[in-house]
């Protein structure tokens, strides 16, 4: 006990990560341990790196960064910071991912937690009309 609490940091192009945090507040309640830093168009890589580093340096070990786009500057900056800080980084921000991460915030040091967050976020991505049609077809055959 008494160890610092892990946090979740959201990095998005233009700062759209602010909205899912608001939504999360509606569903989950407190979002005190979730924050975001927008990548603004005129920032250079180094500008953004320094801003994110300022936050990451204060976060507890095993804190989680969630980025919006694999291969984008949000992800590249995070990857670079993982050299110096014991943080975890996943890309592909979506609502199920953020909810699962929030629910798992106290077990982020468990390697299985990260795998579960990724699985849940991937399972949340579905072809809804396709699934409905397939299920209708199956039930009419049966």
């Amino acid at each position: 006990m008494g160890s610092p609490k892990a946090e979740i940091l959201i990095l998005t192009h233009g700062g759209w990560g602010e909205k899912p945090i608001d939504s999360l507040k509606m569903i989950w309640g407190s979002t005190d341990r979730v924050s975001e830093i927008p990548l603004i168009a005129h920032y250079t890589f180094d500008d953004y790196f320094e801003k994110v580093k300022g936050k990451v340096a204060q976060m507890a070990e095993h804190s989680l960064i969630i980025t919006d786009l694999f291969g984008g500057t949000t992800s590249n900056v995070s990857a670079k910071l993982s050299q110096d800080y014991n943080i975890q980084v996943i890309s592909g921000l979506n609502a199920p991912m953020l909810l699962e991460a929030m629910m798992s915030i106290d077990t982020l040091d468990d390697p299985q937690t990260l795998q579960r967050i990724i699985a849940v976020s991937q399972q949340g991505c579905k072809d809804i009309v396709g699934e409905i049609r397939a299920s209708l077809k199956n039930s009419s055959v049966g």
């Binding site: 192009h13 005129h42 920032y43 250079t44 890589f45 786009l69 291969g71 984008g72 500057t73």
Partner: protein, 161 residues
């Protein structure tokens, strides 16, 4: 020899705009990054290589090494998107034989002594000098951050500096 689909100067090298817009727009299936700075940072180099989307191959070379590959076999095969991190590197490559005819300027970073000339592209005196030198070598230079921008010519840009 490879076809050069696009040659771009972009201080962020491989990032969202390049992967989501220019790779598809230019129909490139390879990215070659030419940067001495990146070669001194193997961790960062691996981040970029890891970022390769399915179907695109990424190679990172220092300026000398890249120019050797160019001289030997014009980068081999495929449609290549070439990235430089700054104008100095582009000029150095040009002087070592990479005599590219057309270059897109997509972003040159920022700083207190730099002036914004188009979208988020900034210039300083040193950049202007290099651009003029390249123009004198008959390199066609245009400024464009994303495909939706109307490309700006060097003379249009210099009026704003």
């Amino acid at each position: 020899m490879a076809t050069i689909a696009l040659c771009r100067v972009d201080s962020r090298l491989i990032h969202g705009q390049v992967l989501t817009k220019w790779l598809g727009q230019s129909d490139a299936n390879r990215i070659i990054v030419m940067s001495d700075m990146l070669m001194q940072d193997p961790f960062m180099k691996n981040i970029y290589i890891m970022a390769a989307p399915p179907g695109a191959e990424i190679d990172c070379y220092g300026i000398d090494e890249g120019c050797e590959h160019w001289k030997n076999n014009q980068f081999g095969k495929g449609n290549v998107l070439i990235l430089f991190g700054d104008l100095k590197s582009l000029l150095a490559a040009w002087e070592k034989g990479f005599e590219i005819k057309k270059v897109q300027i997509g972003g040159l970073g920022g700083g207190p002594k730099r002036k914004a000339v188009f979208q988020n592209i900034t210039l300083d005196d040193h950049d202007v000098e290099i651009l003029k030198e390249l123009a004198a070598k008959e390199v066609e230079i245009f400024f464009q951050t994303i495909p939706e921008d109307t490309p700006q010519t060097l003379s249009q840009i210099l009026k704003k500096y």
